[in-house]
């Protein structure tokens, strides 16, 4: 089995990477994060094992890129946040500031499960934990997000 043309990967998973970037970052950073994610993925792509979980791989890269961007641009991040996108779908909310409040593992679990739409099995593999632990992290993360939402953080 050989790897598919990268173009197919971009078309199939581009919207998911957009969701992840949009949830983690202010709107002004989303395009940069998206581009950096796919450029890094393109660079590494020939070395990917053909049966790899491509969605999980891309979600991890996007998550890391978003964290890098937030770290590099912290002073800017504390300025007036962008208005959240008005959409009832969790995936389209600007969750960035709230997600940043979560412990790292909970945040990763929420991003991979609810934004990248990965199965708990895949989330567990990415976090190197059991499926049960992945479920717990995602549930704890969502519970904390609900609390923050009630408190008006987002």
């Amino acid at each position: 089995m050989t790897l598919r043309p990268f173009e197919e990967v971009v078309n199939e998973h581009g919207p998911m990477v957009t969701r992840v970037c949009r949830a983690l970052l202010p709107a002004s950073e989303v395009d940069d994060a998206w581009s950096e994610t796919f450029l890094a993925a393109l660079r590494a792509y020939p070395r990917l094992r053909p049966n790899s979980n491509v969605a999980g791989w891309l979600a991890t890269i996007a998550h890391r890129k978003a964290i890098d961007i937030l770290r590099d641009r912290r002073p800017a991040a504390s300025e007036v946040p962008d208005l959240p996108v008005v959409d009832p779908d969790l995936a389209d909310l600007a969750l960035g500031p709230a997600l940043a409040e979560l412990p790292e593992k909970q945040r990763a679990a929420v991003v991979y499960r609810y934004l990248a739409d990965l199965s708990y099995r895949d989330v567990a593999a990415l976090l190197s934990c059991t499926e049960a632990a992945a479920r717990r992290s995602a549930a704890d993360g969502v519970a904390k997000l609900r609390r923050l939402h009630k408190e008006g953080v987002f």
Binding site: P5, F6, P46
Partner: protein, 184 residues
């Protein structure tokens, strides 16, 4: 689907970083859309619709590199030249060709074809002889039918010794159409 502007930015950055191993686009032709693909070394593949473009792209990903991206702007020049050719306004292609998909005798045959001028034809036997093996007529015909870059490498200008038109991947009618156009 991905936003065109984001996609174009990715392709431009990939090219700048030397990561655009295979660029492709489609170009209209009298026989339907052609898939046109290039490596940094040159035009590597032109595929007819009957070949199934998705299958061809998967083949390129396996044979050359999986770093395959749709890059219309990067292939504007060859697209324009093909347009001009089909419009009867161009007789030669000014483009570098990467024949790495053809090997051995097939490659030797294809290397000869670009020397056959617009509007003329040569026999499979003559091409076989020119490529260094006068007896390998069937192999020469096979090289033509497996030409990775038809039209630009003009395998349509190679015909049977008895004057009949011979085979063509896009069908004998397509071959006849190209020859008629060139002799008009």
């Amino acid at each position: 689907m991905v936003l065109d502007s984001l996609h174009a930015r990715l392709v431009a950055e990939a090219e700048r970083e030397g990561l655009l191993d295979v660029a492709y686009r489609t170009v209209d032709s009298p026989f339907g859309p052609l898939l046109v693909a290039a490596t940094p070394r040159g035009l590597v593949r032109i595929a007819f619709e009957v070949e199934d473009h998705d299958v061809v792209l998967s083949g390129l990903a396996g044979a050359l590199s999986p770093r395959v991206l749709r890059a219309p702007a990067q292939l504007d020049d060859i697209a324009r030249q093909l347009d001009e050719y089909f419009g009867g306004q161009r007789r030669t292609f000014d483009v570098s060709v990467d024949l790495q998909l053809a090997r051995g005798f097939r490659r030797a045959v294809l290397d000869r074809l670009r020397a056959i001028p617009y509007g003329s034809t040569q026999s499979y036997a003559a091409v076989a002889a020119a490529a260094g093996n006068a007896r390998a007529v069937r192999a020469a015909a096979s090289a033509c039918s497996h030409n990775p870059v038809p039209i630009v490498v003009p395998c349509h200008r190679v015909v049977r010794s008895d004057g009949t038109i011979g085979q063509y991947l896009a069908g004998p009618a397509a071959k006849q159409l190209l020859l008629s156009m060139e002799s008009a």
